[in-house]
Point group: C2
Chain length 228, copies 2
Amino acid sequence: MATLLNRRDPGQGSASERSPLHDDVVDQLRQMIIRCELVPGERFTEQKLVEKFGVSRTPLREALKILASEGLVEMRPHRGSSVSPISIEEISETFAVLGTLEEMAGPLVCDRVSNVDIARLERIKDEMSSKRDATDRNSYFELNVAFHQSMIALSGNAVLSATYNQLFGKLQRARYLVNDDQNRWSESAREHSWIMEALRQRDGAELSKRLREHNSRTAQAVLDKLRG
Amino acid sequence: MATLLNRRDPGQGSASERSPLHDDVVDQLRQMIIRCELVPGERFTEQKLVEKFGVSRTPLREALKILASEGLVEMRPHRGSSVSPISIEEISETFAVLGTLEEMAGPLVCDRVSNVDIARLERIKDEMSSKRDATDRNSYFELNVAFHQSMIALSGNAVLSATYNQLFGKLQRARYLVNDDQNRWSESAREHSWIMEALRQRDGAELSKRLREHNSRTAQAVLDKLRG
DNA sequence: ACTGTCAATATTGAATGCAATCTATGTGTG
DNA sequence: CACACATAGATTGCATTCAATATTGACAGT
């Protein structure tokens, strides 16, 4: 059996908190679900997962509970767990809420953002552009997450940020499906530049507008892909 | 959010859909926390809770995990669980996000609401008014939850609704503290009537505005209470 | 007397075993 | 031949046990 126990690096001399076993399982399962290595709707028995991860059922079940609370897994009493199906309706609704949250964030971000923050976002954006070849799909993907979530985090509203991240996570699978579209890819890069421009000028209203535009276009691309 | 789905169905004598043990624990613990019977910040050992609820540690820990994902409980590895402290900052931020979500819901609700829906909301509102004596504080409280959550549910956006409910839940404790203020109570009743009026006229923009106003006033009252 | 270290105890994290429940297969009856 | 029902196997839910970690208190050294 493959026991992949990557404990969080305790190498730092500081009193590092060792992560519980189920955290590893959560991270790995989440990635597998996001990358569609586990087919949406597929039911998995606990036995199978226990063998795959080399842990006992207790931490495994805890992991499933967490993923269920994130909406990636569905658990029905006595009937086992399954990967949540991708619902076009739900994806569409999630994009709508995300758009509203980004719009809310715009002015808040512009009020608080520092030049250092902007530089950091620029770096993420540039790195994203450099990772355009198909080999680095996953890196690009992670950088896109970092870009958007870092942006919203600058609002200073931790609840807003957490809510945003949670909903963003629910879209990851769907985004992943559309992540190989080169046209959308370069279009998205341009939009990121637009967004940064509004941010540099600290124009809250304009930032809101551009974020919403970007959100809307991304939603369109993802939904088209899902339907076609 | 998914916790709202698996409700125990009391009417059916058939044991076809029995709810898991931990659901009861979650419901009871949540109420105790919301009603501040468990002091914020207080740490509880699993042993104590096991004795109190008469279940074993396994379902109890599952319950704690769920409450942790709702933000009512904090769990630190090897250091036990505690009731999340009430942070004024967090309460304030949560109100802000809720206000934005209500604003988003306004037009959606007005586009879809039926006369039957309106009648149901009216009934809730009227019942709320009838429960103004201090003996029925908890009933009033529950009805207020039902009023707001039912309203947002009418948006037809399930993700919006679930997100709203989740954030609303995080505010319950703070609301409970201010729930004995007679002035705010009658003021709130008037605002509910205003809101219903905009709804009956299907004026989405106006509904948004009044929802935000109500949200803002409630936030003010709660935060004043917390600070004073 | 104060502080740092170490052992004893308490408490949580994980694993295993047992009971309850669901699902699938096969049999009998209309 | 279709359908209802019963039984066996599989799977989940819960309880208990074992292991790892944190906390508390005492003791020795400065």
